[in-house]
Symmetry: C2
Subunit: 186 residues, 2 copies
DNA sequence: CTGTATTGTCAGTTCAGACTGACGGAACAG
DNA sequence: CTGTTCCGTCAGTCTGAACTGACAATACAG
């Protein structure tokens, strides 16, 4: 096996793992594979090289990169005297993770929270305008929705705490947390 | 609008939100909807009621429940004198979240970590058996894979810290974390 | 034990999302 | 300005996951 075959095999393993993780968490598999490839060759690949290397159409490569740029984890770069556009990926995984969480918060968590509170508010309003045993029923329902909404709210607070830390500190903070609270002590 | 129509509308809003969240995070949308419905009516519904309420086939309802039981968030219950099987869902969102994270760790995180380390080890071994400028290339690749693997390892440590806490304490611990580290102070 | 009500399974079908490839447009060297 | 190379888009096609519904298996009342 030549060194370049070996290199390709290592890359493939890494790329496939990343692709599968992406698929598991609601991100397109091709997008994940392109991201992994760019992580390994940041700033050195153009659209067609990516398409060739991953055996996908350049349309697919282009769309995947558009997604990655929308996520904020890939950027365009130009080299003087070269007509091609190259793409670079963040090299620090913690920075990448921070960016990803921030974006998911914006896209998914916030809109979902709004609808959840809407539902809870709707139930509350309905209960107040109702008499008799049906009122109690609606109040119970409202409480149940609110219980989940409260959880969701605390979860968002947690995300915000995470995002508020400089990413250089996150790893350290979490290690500290792990040390402080290895077991449930109340 | 009657009280029961109101109730159905509140339920629908809640159920649809949950279904969409599920879809965003790699869980089947129907599975999420069934779960939401069971959260609201824990222990009171059988397969056919679920199918009717959500307008899905009972095959789909049955399969969704099988998934939810595999996730450990839904259980069978029997009522004496009744031939039907009912299903109950965990009522505490933190417990549900804890269970979900534990299961994802087992199914996804652990296998992925193994493959990641395999790739890193493969690259390291290959580099050691190579001479000349190609050796440096492989070493660089190995370092890059290892950088991501290290991040992943720290991430798993974080998950483990979380899972090690009693779930009653998680919310409190996170609130404390948020208070202790509102900003990056190094 | 028997009959019936209920749940579980899975082959076939449907459908949403992913992918391709041809086209148009942009960017740049000359 | 012109020709060429490369990138972005999107209509049409394809693929795989999800869903249905008929049948099989199971559980229980009587």
């Amino acid at each position: 096996m030549t060194a370049s075959e070996t290199r390709a095999e290592v890359e493939d393993r890494f790329i496939e793992v990343w692709g599968e993780i992406s698929g598991m968490w609601g991100v397109n598999k091709s997008v994940g594979r392109v991201h992994a490839l760019l992580y390994l060759h940041s700033g050195k690949l153009d659209i067609d090289s990516i398409a060739q290397r991953l055996q996908i159409s350049h349309g697919n490569a282009s769309t995947s990169i558009r997604d990655l740029m929308a996520w904020g984890v890939v950027k365009r770069v130009h080299k003087p005297g070269d007509r091609k556009t190259f793409f670079e990926a963040e090299q620090d995984p913690w920075t990448w993770f921070h960016t990803t969480i921030r974006e998911r918060r914006r896209r998914e968590v916030v809109p979902v929270m709004e609808r959840l509170h809407e539902a809870a508010g709707f139930a509350e309003g309905a209960a107040k305008g109702t008499k008799g045993p049906e009122r109690k029923e609606l109040e119970d329902l409202q409480r149940q929705v609110a219980r989940f909404a409260d959880f969701a709210h605390e979860f968002v607070d947690l995300i915000d705490a995470f995002l508020g830390m400089g990413h250089g500190r996150m790893a350290k903070a979490f290690r500290m947390l792990a040390k402080l609270m290895p077991k449930d002590r109340g």
